[in-house]
Amino acid sequence: MATRTNQEWLDDLKGPDQDQAIEDLRKVLKRGLIYSLSSRIQTDLETQVDDFVQDSILRILDKMHTFRGESKFTTWAQKVAVRVAFTELRRQRWKDISLEDLLPEDSGDFTPMVLADPSPDPEKRATQTLMTEMIDQMLQEELTERQRTAMLAIMSGGMPLEEVAKRLNTNRNALYKLLHDARKQMRDRLLERGLTPEDVLEAFAND
């Protein structure tokens, strides 16, 4: 396979040698994805990777004008392929799960949540209960419903940002900003109570 400079990749992918350049790019992307996804995909690895590569090539041809030349073209292209692969893998993994499935059962109303796994030490348990109620109150009263839902879906349910974003009819960047505001809000409310996140972490250490 021919080695190309960045400019040669860009020229060949648009020019008369496009078919050969696409074929070469396909081999590069496939090799990278097969190696890096082999531990994450249990069945039909090659078929799935072929599909990811096909979709990636279309995306790369469409987005080539955004390549800034700060890396090798193949590194940039592999980045696009990894994003395409993860978008699909996460869609498959979470397709049947709603946000409601991930929320603590009593988070919809204003009843304080109960700690699911309290410490055996009574004093520590009392501190944890107080802190849990405080955090629950902050979630309910200081955050918007969207912030609270997203925060719990990610922190408690483990759903990736982009899947939460889809369900809230927004995008990953906008959701990140929403959560950034929520985290700042929680940090400031803790400070107002004379607490830091470290204090809370200490209360829940070694459980």
Partner: protein, 78 residues
């Protein structure tokens, strides 16, 4: 499901790592290829691009993509 100690810990770790200025996932993605090439060439991208490094520590989705991309690029150059 109740709010578990683990959820509280995760929440507090994310609050602890909060900065007034943070990169979004999109900004992190824009820099990722450059960041990885610096890493692979033995330079210290975490010093040159601390906001990217912080985002990767904070955002599980971006960190997962970064780790897989790093492996994929290593496979490409082997």
């Amino acid at each position: 499901m109740k709010l578990s100690s683990e959820t509280i810990r995760k929440m507090m770790l994310s609050v602890k790592s909060t900065r007034d200025v943070e990169l979004t996932c999109g900004h992190c993605y824009d820099e990722l290829d450059h960041f990885i090439e610096m890493k692979l060439s033995g330079k210290k991208p975490e010093e040159a691009m601390p906001l990217v490094q912080e985002h990767l520590e904070r955002c599980a989705a971006c960190r997962e993509e970064y780790e897989v991309l790093l492996e994929a690029i290593q496979a490409m150059i082997e």
